[in-house]
């Protein structure tokens, strides 16, 4: 990711002034019931700084949408939340990030276990080249969540049910996951994520490869999942952010410009850059 990337048009001088003057995020970055907390997070890729001093809470039982132009750091921030960036050698993260008060970047924390607690769904559905059953059973198997086949069956079925896919695939669990449609594959990936009983689900543009009907199903599912999980979703679709989230965070060139209730962000944003972005103005 390149921090210099701007796709937000030619930029008015007023808007760039507003960005230069941005010292701190507009709006309350905290929530009363936080699941994850990030404080003063900076992220670098080599010499390039991708994220500047971002602080943000992710609350229990809420969906927080992260929006912003390409290269604004929203995906980078999301990936820091389950240490996906560990695999990029040049990536360096500073600041504090915690899950239920536990330091995410502590040396004693096993990133594999962390990723079971903080699951992730990606832009393109990426089922394993295995059967539908084995796709969902994969995580529980490696984490030893089931002691026998019956327990594993229960986990697989309930995960498929929660992901709203069971009815469509219950008679062909042995079929390859890749034989499903795009929307079904994405729900399979969500089932796979749920199967290891995560506490947080991160979604990086989960619907960008899906048609409107599949998208509506996923969005409905996100709303249902909110009852049990904390969810953070990165999306380029402002309408999607408006539809699924309770809070919205707007990133711009690596800074968190504004965060607030989705209702307020979409009717009366306080920062000029947020306004420009969500209304499609030059900024």
């Amino acid at each position: 990711m390149n921090t210099q990337t701007t796709t937000s048009g030619s930029g008015t001088s007023a808007a760039s002034d507003a960005f230069d003057q941005l010292k701190e995020t507009v709006g309350d970055v905290t929530v009363t019931d936080p699941k994850m907390c990030a404080r003063n997070v900076d992220v670098f890729y080599g010499d390039n700084q991708a994220i500047y001093d971002v602080s943000l809470d992710i609350g229990n039982n809420e969906v927080i949408a992260m929006i912003g132009p390409s290269g604004c750091g929203k995906s980078t921030f999301l990936r820091c939340l389950n240490r996906m960036n560990d695999s990029i050698p040049s990536c360096r993260v500073s600041g504090d990030m915690s899950l239920d008060g536990e330091d995410l970047y502590s040396t004693s924390l096993d990133p594999v276990l962390l990723r079971a607690r903080v699951g992730m769904v990606f832009q393109k559905p990426n089922p394993f080249a295995k059967s539908i059953y084995d796709n969902v059973a994969y995580g529980p198997r490696i984490h030893g969540l089931a002691s026998n086949r019956a327990e594993l069956d229960d986990i697989v079925i309930s995960s498929l049910q929660k992901a709203g896919l069971h009815e469509e695939v219950h008679d062909r669990l042995d079929a390859p996951g890749t034989s499903l449609s795009g929307g079904q594959q994405q729900r399979l990936c969500i089932a796979r994520t749920i199967a290891v009983s995560p506490e947080v689900i991160l979604m990086d543009e989960p619907c960008s490869a899906l048609d409107p009907i599949a998208t509506a199903r996923i969005e409905e599912l996100i709303d249902e999942l909110r009852q049990n999980y904390a969810i953070a979703i990165v999306t380029h679709s402002m309408q999607q952010a408006a539809r699924v989230s309770q809070r919205t965070a707007y990133f711009h060139l690596g800074k968190l410009v504004e965060v607030g209730s989705t209702n307020n962000i979409f009717t009366n944003p306080q920062h000029e850059l947020t306004e420009n972005y969500i209304t499609g103005r030059f900024g």
């Binding site: 008015t12 979409f266 009717t267 009366n268 944003p269 000029e272």
Partner: protein, 240 residues
Amino acid sequence: MDKLHLDQHISQQFNHELEDIRNRVLAMGGLVEQQVDKGLTALLESDGDLGQSVATADFEVNAMEVEIDEECIQILARRQPAASDLRLIVTVIKVITDLERIGDEAEKMGRFAVELAEANAATSYRKELRRLGDLVKSMLRDALDAFARLDVDAAIKTAARDEDINAEYQTLQRLLATHLMEDPRQVSQLLKITWCARALERIGDHSVNICEYVVYLVKGRDIRHINFDQVQSEFLSKPN
């Protein structure tokens, strides 16, 4: 965000659409203002023809409301506006509803002007409407001006003038009641004048609504049904 920057969308077409809607509302406001002015003149000058022309022209106001409404619906459906753009569309939909009702009140005055002119009655009593009429006309003009200039200060100060209008309306009602008692033969004519006074007072109320929408549009806050002192202290800019 005190200014709407309607010309700064990446989509030029969207800029044009929003600008067009705003211009149409201003044109509708101009027409409605004219209707009120003519309706009042017809009453005061006992001009039945002018009254009739006001009543007839109300369809133009109605047609504009329908057209602008349609345009707003198209924008909602096709553009899914957000933030200030959304507030603009919502404000427009509300403003034109009030403008259309003001148009109806003007039409009412026009019709009463025709009836009163035909009866050639209560000529002197009709003059009593002048002061109320002047207050209402200037309030409507300033409300539309505040909308055109997105001027929150002007909107709040204009809305405050509704108290003067209500006071004048009360005075006028007492006066007309006295005339009624003194001159019972004129009951039916005096009642018509009372209805005209009522129409003017209602135009004042609709103008207040327009002022409130201006505050919503610019500040994003709904100030309807909020204590007026609170609104003034929160939104009126402080003198330097």
